[in-house]
Symmetry: C2
Subunit: 365 residues, 2 copies
């Protein structure tokens, strides 16, 4: 079991740097990260004085006992709303200024919240827990490895059983089924399966008309959810004619992918890694066809910090896990993106994803 | 294609009742409802003067052209954030007071938003579009019918192929696969599959240990997503010994389900429908074991208004679609919930779900 108490202590150190003497965690994934609880509609109160309390309702009493042994809980009865229960709880914890997560609270809730806790000063914060989540611990890395392995096994089966008549949606459903058969909860996000020109669209909803036989290649952007943690990969496979245009674009993207991965190490500046890939693509004359950033962190969420993109001048740290996913997109023709999952290690990096990416290995006709 | 322009006109009538001379729709599902656009990260600006503009980025230009023919769009270039683009757009639409959806805007975004639009008065609103979405039109009802039919067909296959060694998670995966094979996008929500005592937990995450053979009955709470619209059903099937305790509880829940459905008609007060079911359960001595409300609306979202629960004194209207889902839960033993999808018609109601629920038909041993 992860050391949740340690995570909460780290958060407390960040809260102490603010004006607040406690923090209320309202982001569902942040509650999971700090306690192990996987349900919803539950908040976590942490005071600088050391109190720790999960606030939930009757549906979840048993879950919390099982998932968060030893954690104090406040379970409200039926008909008692969160906002009716909170003021007493905050008062009895002797909190006079309370940090809140402004990115995990709607304006509507905040308004009622402010009324209900009228004698408490609210201190807006953003990204405190997200900052901790950027650097993964051993257990998290182990689960991400598992999520990558499940995704890769599922992909191998889908590719081995690829047929010309399959639609994009059928391939998407096949990925979903295989991820589950290999022990994953489900896919990590709604996968992209783009045949030919569909692969030019960054965010594409796989359809029921387009079939493998309708073009010469298929792009898959998929991942698996192991237990709670995710993976995120992209490969393009050649299912028809291998043209010289495709070959040039593919090998450019692959070179960008490899060069960027090679540059990953602790201390490397995030925007510089993006720059390494971008330079390779620009040099080949496709600079304007790479319209997104190079990569992002992932873990409990599929997109989370750190960000490998322009204007990010922070250094990478050991324990960060990022995608590296350069791409070239030609509207009407299609696109190529090659995405791997990379762990920043003390000495440099480790490629967590190992599914084949040399062009020769991606021809499946 | 639904009459999106009519929906936008209806919304405009609601906006005119506020102080605002325009509204910015930031809820993703509300944008879908008002335009047909199915992507994310896009907002809709509607002015009382009649301007209509969808604000998106380069990933979605083609999608919007396809999904929202005729709708004006503002596509910002790469590197231009939504908050950088908005002020100019709002200014050129001559908006001086702008309604916002406070339940679809985080405090963090609102803060930046207020700064960026410093010369515009923001008018907080909640639930304007949600109010329209409560009453479904013909196209929406047709798609909900399809979502119910897909869910029922999927369930029939899962039940026909039920085996004693299957785990809850395997059954959940089977539901997912069958929903897709029958043409659904995916399940409508993470299904509940609870064997025996697991069925006592309202929100339960199906596990990999518990198998069908481990108890005498299994609860399924599942639904399908057709294209955009959902369905939501619950059935309990007997897979082992049929005890008199189960029989009594099952038939009480079934009687409550039937009595509540019978009471559904335009003009009936929502809390009264809840009361009808609750009375049946109380009379049988299980009042304290029915710890949730009777039902809810659904459509684009799995839980949306109207709400069949205490303290809801509004009348039902023709075109509303609600679940009716009484339940009795005994911790340690299990639970029974029977959930149907009901359309309020001009004359009364129509049961959209028809999967068998008489006890005799739910014994599958």
């Amino acid at each position: 079991m992860p050391d949740f108490a340690k995570r909460r202590d780290k958060l407390r150190r960040l809260v102490r740097k603010t004006d607040a003497d406690a923090i209320l965690i309202t982001s569902e994934l942040n509650v999971t990260y700090l306690t192990g609880f996987t349900g919803d509609s539950s908040y976590l109160l942490l005071t600088n004085a050391g109190d720790e309390l999960i606030i939930s309702d009757m549906r979840y009493g048993t879950h919390i006992e099982t998932e968060c042994p030893g954690l104090e809980m406040s379970i409200r009865g039926p008909g008692v709303k969160m906002l009716e229960a909170l003021p007493k709880i905050v008062k009895s914890a002797k909190v006079s200024s309370l940090a809140v997560e402004t990115a995990a609270m709607t304006v509507a809730f905040h308004e009622e919240f402010t009324k209900a806790l009228s004698d408490v000063k609210l201190v807006p914060t953003t990204g405190l827990v997200e900052q901790l989540r950027e650097v993964k611990d051993k257990g998290e890395i182990a689960e991400i490895r598992e999520a990558v392995a499940i995704a890769e096994k599922a992909f191998a089966v889908v590719i081995a059983s690829l047929r010309p008549e399959q639609t994009e949606k059928e391939l998407l459903d096949a990925v979903e089924a295989q991820v589950r058969l290999f022990g994953g909860e489900c896919t990590a996000f709604w996968p992209i399966v783009g045949v030919g020109s569909s692969a030019a669209m960054g965010h594409y909803r796989p359809g029921r008309e387009r079939r493998v036989a309708d073009a010469d290649f298929v792009l898959f952007d998929w991942g698996a959810k192991a237990n709670l943690y995710l993976s995120d990969l992209t490969r393009v496979v050649v299912t028809g004619k291998l043209t010289s245009k495709f070959e040039k674009i593919y090998n450019t993207v692959l070179a960008a992918n490899r060069a960027a991965i090679k540059a990953i190490r602790p201390g490397a500046i995030m925007q510089d890694i993006d720059g390494v890939a971008r330079k390779v693509i620009e040099k080949a004359g496709y600079g304007k066809k790479f319209g997104h950033s190079l990569g992002h962190g992932f873990g409990l969420q599929i997109h989370e910090g750190p960000w490998l993109r322009m204007k990010e001048d922070r250094p990478l740290q050991a324990g960060m896990v990022v995608t590296v996913e350069p791409g070239i997109y030609i509207p009407g023709w299609g696109g190529v993106r090659i995405e791997d999952d990379i762990l920043v290690t003390r000495d440099g990096h480790e490629e967590l994803s190992i599914v084949a990416k040399d062009l020769g290995e991606c021809v499946v006709v």
